[in-house]
Amino acid sequence: MDGLIFLTCAFIAVACATNLVLQTHPISSAISLVGVMVSLAVLYLLLGGEFIGFAQLIVYAGAIMVLFVFVIMLLNAGAERQYKRSVWVTVLGVPLLFGFLGLVAYFIQSRVPATDTVKFGAWTGGSARDFGRVLFSTYLLPFEVTSILILIAIVGAIVLAQKEID
Amino acid sequence: MHQLWLIPVFPLAGFLINGLAGRRLSKTVTNVIAIGSVLLSFLWVVKTLMALGPLEEAYVEHYFNWISSGPLNIGFDFAVDRLTAVMLLVVTGIGSLIHIYAIGYMSHEGGYYRFFAYLNLFMFFMLTLVLGANFLVLFVGWEGVGLCSYLLIGFYFLKKSANDAGKKAFVVNRVGDFGFSLAMFLLFVHFGSLDFKTVFSKVAEMPQETSFGLLTGIGILLMVGAAGKSAQIPLYVWLPDAMEGPTPVSALIHAATMVTAGVYMVARSFVIYEHAPIAREIVAIIGLLTAVMAATIGMTQFDIKKVYAYSTVSQLGYMFLACGVGSYASGVYHIMTHAFFKALLFLGAGSVIHALSGEQDLRQMGGLRSKIPMTFLTLLCASLAIAGFPFTSGFMSKDAILLAVHEHSPLMFWIGVITSAMTAFYVWRALFLCFFGKERGHHHPHESPLVMLMPLGVLALLSLAGGYFNIPHWLEPIFGRPHEEHDTALVAVSVGAGLLGIFLAWLFYVVKPGIPDSIANALGSVYRLVYNKYLVDELYDATIVHPIRDGSTTVLWKGVDVGVIDGVANGVGTTARGIGGILRRMQSGNIRAYAAWVLAGAVLVLGAITVMGGAK
């Protein structure tokens, strides 16, 4: 059962990612990205990351991608102009990519022992309670720092995007 | 302690005060300081000599350890013995007289305080040279007087010819100094010291060298140095050009004191020459050749100062001839008498030039006997002395030399006699052309002021009577050779030669003034060769000066400096720019290219980590 979920989600994720890269219009790419994120959220749940899975859905897919879509609509971004891609890129690039990925796969397979397996429910330590406990004790400082970081980002974004004051 | 150091320090103080503050001092104050310092020095010399008594042995004062490096130990020492005493008296005495004369002569010139500052500096160095107790202190003075000579020859620095003459003097001197330095190196290597006492006592124990050996080499190299400083063949070419300087300079430096430094040095090193007969013979030959050559040139010159300059070269040749035949005492004797009459000749010439407002050409002079009688009388005394008129100082010293030469080699004696005839001839030629006959110039001559006439008078007295200071006898404890008995026949010959010269000059220039021109025309190209100083300057120019200059321009300047050094320096810059130009293509502004580089870098780092064993 776990295997089925994994394969489905993996397939969706890879398909959406490929679609993201291959689509010309940015809005299509944005929707594909949302698809990737949703499938990844399911995988997180499979891995026992309750909090992080839902955080992914709420923050990433829900907020960041919405921001992306807003900007695309604001800019009225159109489809990319098609350039003549050279033959070499297609002939060399795709096999190279597959070869590279195959190599990586083999590499990972050989390094990770076969006994490491993932089973849904094998570990439940990723709950909100456990997550929060560690976040606010061991990782308090990074937490505070990132909040300042977000503050800076907000101020920066506002300053950058505001209308000129004449 | 007799405070020998005060002797040179008085003029040094004069130099410092006049040099640094002279611009703001009045002429009177400058005069007082300049002359006062030299006079003080002279008085101190007299006082010290009287206090030192008979001076059988040298009196040495050690001041401080100057160089102390490994085996080389040189102290700054001054020493006085009888030879030094003669030189000290001549330098300070004649120096004082010339300083007094210069007040009058330079009164209308610019750069007044600078002139006296340089003169005082020269006195300081000359006295250091004479007082030095080792070769290095002597060399300090040697170089210093060379420097002052350059400064004073080029005193009228706005004239190109003066600048060139100064440079020529300095460069030619340097060639001589090179020989001197080599001699000092040899001395140090073989004797471990440069101190006179040490070296000479060690040399005295060595056997006489019959073939070319160490002492001969040292003797020849010392002679090279002396030839540079005392204007002998082949390094005499600077002295006639040095007449560009003011006349007091010509009198003091290029007649009485600096040019005798070479003779002094040879006389001081007589022990070396006694043990190296070959070197001594070379000294004699050089002296004789120079004497003859300069005398022949002097007979043809028309510039009064040039005549006396060649006369100086010729007389210095006599001094070296004396040393070369072993009669060092008579060489030193001639230094003294030559200082008297040659300084007088130059100062007198200066008086004539001053009277004629700058005219130096003998052909523009004439009939001045009645106009400037005092000058005429003093120059007459000097001309008598240099011609060897009986019982003048010049007669005494020249006779001493010629007698010693005859003992050594009769051939040299006869050549010397002929040269003394020529000497008398050209000096009296100058006298007759200047003071006799009809007035050829267009000037209004006026007699010189008293301040200039007084030194002339004193020197005239010394020229006539100065021979009675029996120097050779007094210098016996040092040089050890007994002075010659008077051989009346030889004396008569030399006197006769002098009188013949005077007579011929009278004949050619007073009785029948047309003769010299006809002789000159008859001799044609020979005359022209002699008139052009045997083209020696042109020869040096072609063989040495031009090749060096052109070689330096093409090879060193254009080749090495511009080509190699500038090339390297510029090349570094060009290379840096080239590499930068290549590297800057990475900055294409193309963001995707940057992204690609980032990815490539990341892959590289990962690869490196993997290769090195992976992250732990």
Binding site: P26, G49, V59, A105, T138 | -
Partner: protein, 103 residues
């Protein structure tokens, strides 16, 4: 269908997603698409972290992933603001046109 999924598969998936993101990042011309590829890469890395957190039974991997998300958010905000400004000035969304910083 295996009942348990080998950990290696998760890692391989992460690698694949990362590579796709990298390829897109290099090959696409629109700024926005490039940005989205960056987000894809970040997600791939998150997956890797979570997988290892499961392997080692430690929640620190989740925390790290959480911080990655926070930073990604901040970065997205500022980056999009910059894109807006660039668009305002140059009226183009192609990164090849934004090349005036060349030497």
């Amino acid at each position: 269908m295996p009942a348990t999924v080998p950990l290696a598969w998760f890692l391989i998936l992460s690698a694949v997603l990362f590579s796709i993101g990298a390829a897109g990042f290099l090959l696409r011309r629109s700024i926005l698409t490039v940005f989205m590829c960056i987000e894809l890469m970040l997600n791939a890395v998150n997956l890797s972290f979570i997988s290892f957190a499961h392997r080692w039974k430690a929640v620190d991997g989740h925390i790290f992933s959480f911080f990655v998300m926070v930073v990604a958010a901040a970065e997205a905000a500022v980056g999009l603001a910059i894109i807006l400004t660039v668009f305002k000035n140059r009226n183009t969304l192609e990164i090849d046109e934004v090349s005036s910083l060349k030497l």
